[in-house]
Symmetry: C2
Subunit: 253 residues, 2 copies
Amino acid sequence: VKLLTLARDLRRRRARERHRLFVAEGVRTVDELLRSDLAVRGVLASPELAAASRAALEAAARVRGVTMTELDARDFASAADTDSPQGVLAIGEVPTRELSDLALPATARLVVLDAVQDPGNVGTILRTSAALGASATLALPGTVDLWNAKVVRSAMGALFHRPALSSTWDELDTFLVKTGTELWGADAAGEAVDRSRGSRPARLALAVGNEGAGLSADATTRARRLVGLPIASEIESLNVAVATGILLYELRP
Amino acid sequence: VKLLTLARDLRRRRARERHRLFVAEGVRTVDELLRSDLAVRGVLASPELAAASRAALEAAARVRGVTMTELDARDFASAADTDSPQGVLAIGEVPTRELSDLALPATARLVVLDAVQDPGNVGTILRTSAALGASATLALPGTVDLWNAKVVRSAMGALFHRPALSSTWDELDTFLVKTGTELWGADAAGEAVDRSRGSRPARLALAVGNEGAGLSADATTRARRLVGLPIASEIESLNVAVATGILLYELRP
């Protein structure tokens, strides 16, 4: 019951920040969490959890010394964020990571979320950044909470394997100088990137902006270059996660 | 009331196919539809529609000779697919397009959806394909209905500006031969694409597969080449819309 109360509470961002805990929902995400290095407080299951998945998750939880608690369908639903969470969720500890402690390899890519607001987009960007080898993803003010249940789900485990942390612009400024990392911004009006032309800095942070408003003044002022992707005139924009993927791939070391 | 009954009915795929009609929900999507060449049967609004949006949409509807009908909140909700549809939806006619009539420029890109099932992914692929200059998007068997309300919304108008149509494998085979278009498949195990190396056919159709299962046997058998994107080992895959965007950009003429 204590875990149930906690899971319900963790639907609010403020509770997640106070407890430094988050909720992972669904078979796939809970499985990824149990296989990661992150600490897990407990797993909650409902009768809706399919038998095969239950057996696999129970085994994975046992290996980690984590208890799986059974709830009835109504109690479970009161804690779940999604309408169809597959009958399982886990409570995990947000890793304590400070930007100042982040070690970068000699050649590195970072993704900077500049007030990206849709949880599905942020989750997909986390997944894409990890897949394409970015060292970390940083969430600047105005960005949706990285540990929101929908972000966690959309990230498909990426959040458990690669550093993702919140940062202020001041902290980012200090970090960029200290590590010799150049900040570029993704902007529809930026110069078209083309892998075959132009050199890239060894350490590059790419800032991507809000779904409607684009990059903030904070980002455009600081960016050494603005890069974009030429698109057909009748289409207003690319989805921010798609644009991030293309740019990261084009700007890979 | 007749439009209301119709809108409710159009939540089912079979009704959309029988009537050759679809529903566009939300201010942005209705506005894009009214500005497109597609025929519009009517617009339904509820008291939740914001005043500024209402005025703009009324003006756009008037230009098209389309009537805007007021409904109370409950009736409106009974027709809307989304929980928060911003108080406006429109009924549009599915354009009658046959693959055999599709004219391609000398250099062309096509996207082939091979059992892609998530409506948000399909909508984002339609938006991405249009933005990156693909001539058309084809939905093969097993793919979610292109005129599903969530696909329409996620496509952000792309569905109204560029050809998007369903096709069988037989129809596609005939079309590829007739137009001299080469079929390639996106596959995690495919050769890494790199724009700076290798030539591309003038007319290229890129098949992308199901979110879980990947390309079907129908697609892999037919594909002249399988291309992929190298990703970090701890991440299972890229989101299909992101992967489509990167591959289309890399394979641009």
